[in-house]
């Protein structure tokens, strides 16, 4: 499919020829020769191209993208890329403001839940899949699970090139399990009740202070609130919106889901939501530092665990299991992902260069895995069968989490929805507010936001 190596061999010969010819010819002749040479290289002639590219910050993913892009610009010296990154929760907002002010980057990584907004406002450009290296649109869509690619296509055209898609997993501290007499494999919770029970046994308290929380929900940012509540809501048979666009998070299923969410703290006494918010900015730090035994998280790179808790990494005494469900074995998490996209405000030649750049960036999926494991890529081909990939511990769990998760709601008012849910969860967990009442307020907020968006 992607055959960069054979193409790279040619220009060396042409360079020598080119130099001899250039010395003899004038500018017009030189221009003709250069035009011919460019057929062999990825660069679009010698015209300098300046691009900006934005992504979210992550200690593994961001450097890998920077590395691949730098490799590309090394090989195509006329292309300069201004590489910028932003905190995960900020990227969408910065992009919105960028589009609004005409300062948006030409290329960027889009979180998949923002795709509807970009598409609705016509802010991203359709992509030519043949330039990305696919022989046809059918070949493109078959390289990804439908769920991933559906969010990136519209009217038969592709608007995004899915890069990473992954699901959350339940990370367990196996040492803690054994300490309280549980088996980390057999006793890994498969239902929400089991999660509560197991968490309760894992909890260690010192008076009113939680020395160790059995389980912890992340509560520090709206993005995490959404990701963590989404699968519970869907699993309980609920939905975010009904067919008419009204927010239904406050119906019976929604209340049931939120009750489950609150039960770990309220019913089982295994979580301390106030502590969760107040301390380390990053909630998984509590899990790293063994102040929590279980935690829902995106795939965590072993290097990160090594850096935070070398003991836990070296033994190792942690493992990943699937989310619990409402029925045993029917647990699934949120799956979300990132697409490489191109701004519709970029000029034609920059769009072309971006196609080539993306093709190059994605041309070595195994390299991606090496740098960013265990963040799973969305594509099916080119990496899953690689022995290095297969040898990764618990690899099948990551694949299952990716393939069987549910998506975050794709709505035009995602920011408002996330903020409303975040407020509701805080009220419920921190102020022991009534669940139905809080969800009613959240749903009303979302409906107001939807109405305001529609009015334009």
């Amino acid at each position: 499919m992607l055959d960069s190596k054979s193409r790279r061999a040619k220009p060396a010969v042409d360079r020598k020829t080119r130099r001899r010819v250039l010395r003899g010819l004038g500018a017009a002749g030189a221009g003709a020769v250069v035009g011919a040479a460019s057929r062999w290289s990825f660069a679009q002639g010698k015209a300098p191209i300046n691009l900006s590219f934005w992504t979210f910050d992550n200690p593994q993913q961001r450097p890998w993208l920077a590395k691949r892009i730098k490799l590309y610009t090394d090989q195509n010296p006329n292309v300069k890329v201004d590489f910028q990154w932003f905190p995960f929760g900020d990227l969408g907002k910065k992009l919105s403001v960028g589009f609004a002010t005409g300062t948006a980057p030409e290329g960027f990584v889009s979180q998949d839940w923002f795709m509807p907004v970009w598409l609705d406002k016509g802010l991203i450009a359709p992509m030519d899949v043949s330039r990305l290296g696919y022989s046809s649109m059918a070949a493109f869509t078959s390289d990804f699970a439908p769920a991933f690619v559906n969010g990136a296509t519209k009217d038969g055209k592709a608007y995004g090139y899915p890069l990473w898609f992954y699901g959350y997993l339940n990370y367990l501290n196996t040492k803690d399990f054994k300490q309280v007499g549980l088996d980390p494999v057999k006793d890994a919770p498969k239902t929400w009740e089991q999660l509560g029970e197991v968490a309760k046994r894992l909890t260690v308290k010192d008076g009113g202070k939680f020395t160790r929380q059995g389980f912890k929900f992340a509560m520090h940012a709206p993005a995490w609130t959404m990701i963590q509540f989404n699968p519970i809501l869907i699993g309980a048979g609920g939905s975010w919106f009904d067919a008419s666009g009204k927010c239904t998070v406050n119906n019976a299923a929604g209340v049931k889901a939120m009750t489950v969410r609150a039960s770990i703290a309220r019913q089982y006494g295994a979580e301390d939501p106030a502590d969760t918010i107040a301390t380390p900015p990053l909630p998984q730090l509590d899990w790293f530092k063994e102040r929590a035994s279980m935690f829902f998280c995106h795939p965590i790179p072993p290097t990160l665990i090594q850096a935070q808790n070398p003991n836990m990494a070296s033994v190792p005494y942690y493992s990943e299991v699937q989310y619990p469900g409402f029925q045993p074995g029917k647990g699934f998490s949120s799956t979300y992902g990132f697409n490489l996209v191109i701004s519709a405000q970029a000029s034609k030649d920059k769009q072309e260069v971006l196609h080539d750049m993306y093709r190059f960036v994605m041309s070595d999926p195994v390299d991606c895995w090496k740098d960013t494991a265990p963040f799973t890529m969305a594509r099916k081909s080119g990496w899953v069968d690689n022995p290095a990939v297969k040898a990764f511990p618990h690899m099948e769990e990551f694949i299952i989490a990716r393939d069987e998760g549910v998506f975050l709601p794709r709505t035009l008012v995602y920011n408002e929805l996330a903020d409303a849910m975040h407020r509701a969860v805080q009220k419920i967990m921190l102020n022991r507010a009534d669940i139905k009442a809080s969800l009613d307020e959240a749903a009303a907020e979302v409906d107001r936001a939807t109405a305001a968006y529609k009015k334009g």
Binding site: G208, R423, N431
Partner: protein, 315 residues
């Protein structure tokens, strides 16, 4: 002031006349200089203050997401704000915050100033030390206090001897706003301590002596000598503190993020979120107008005192 200047100016005018017909020319020239001195500032404010405010008022009657052109919606933004429980709560939070912080800043500032003014040994150093807290970068203040206000953080630890095990300062809606007010007072009171102190030091000792001779107690001296002499400064402090608090953004943003729920969200945060997170610039402008109205009340108060002092001074 003018009385003193008048004969001098008359002399100058006469001198100008003596030098030729440049008397009126000289005065005109001086006037021009005056205008010239203030012109850059006035222009600056026209571009960066008045222009934007008028634009904001105009925007508040439109719906504008910045991607497409603004379109006129009349009073819709304001109507929807009134109907929005989040906005109403935020407005209430802001008023509570301004009220609570201003009162406490004034009381604590005055108290600290009184304590320092007793001129006990080391008072000056104590004052300088406390004043330093006013110079600490606000972001550092917020980050430090967020840790101090952890359920098991330093503030709770200090209350251990009183049998308190844990206080969820930032995560219970009953204590969240008081916690933010606490941080605000900590940050701003020392500045006003210095303002009050200057006022206290300016009160002539003779007044206190006279009161003492008349048999007044310390409390009575405070009430009948100190307070009346401090009245203008008191008013100034209240108004300036209120203006400062109305604008606050960083404290709730960093320390509680507006939570729990909506308990500590203030108008400046709502403006930022509505404009830059939801891209509803028209609506954000309407909220700005509300905040502007609140500040206008306090500013007019301040202008009245200032102008009245001017009259008294110039008379």
């Amino acid at each position: 002031m003018n009385g003193v200047a008048a004969p001098a100016r008359a002399k100058a005018g006469a001198a100008g006349l003596r030098r030729g017909s440049r008397g009126f020319g000289a005065r005109y020239r001086i006037q021009l200089w005056g205008v010239g001195f203030i012109l850059p500032t006035v222009l600056f404010f026209a571009v960066f203050k008045y222009g934007p405010m008028l634009w904001a008022l105009e925007l508040s009657f439109t719906s504008y997401d910045m991607v497409s052109a603004p379109h006129f919606v009349g009073l819709d933004n304001y109507r929807s704000l009134v109907a929005d429980p989040i906005f109403r709560e935020t407005l209430l939070n802001t008023l509570v915050y301004i009220g609570g912080s201003t009162v406490l800043i004034t009381l604590v500032g005055l108290g600290l100033a009184l304590a320092v003014s007793t001129r006990v040994p080391g008072a000056r150093h104590c004052m300088t030390a406390m004043f330093l807290t006013n110079l600490m970068p606000i972001i550092a203040v917020c980050l430090v206090w967020r840790f101090l206000l952890h359920p098991h953080g330093l503030m709770t630890q200090l209350l251990h001897p009183f049998g308190v095990d844990r206080i969820d300062w930032l995560t219970k809606s009953t204590t969240a706003m008081p916690a933010i007010i606490l941080v605000t007072v900590w940050r701003f009171a020392p500045y006003f301590m210095v303002v009050f102190l200057a006022g206290l030091l300016a009160i002539p000792d003779e007044y206190y002596e006279a009161a003492r001779i008349d048999g007044a107690t310390a409390l009575q001296r405070f009430r009948y000598v100190t307070l009346p002499m401090l009245a203008p400064i008191l008013f100034f402090v209240v108004v300036v503190a209120a203006l400062l608090c109305a604008r606050i953004f960083l404290m709730p943003y960093i320390i509680t993020g507006g939570g729990p729920g909506n308990a500590t969200r203030v108008l400046s945060m709502l403006i930022y979120e509505t404009g830059f997170s939801y891209l509803k610039m028209g609506r954000a402008a309407a909220i700005s107008a509300v905040l502007f109205a609140i500040m206008m009340v306090f500013t007019f108060l301040q202008m009245r005192i200032y102008m009245r002092r001017e009259e008294a001074y110039l008379r």
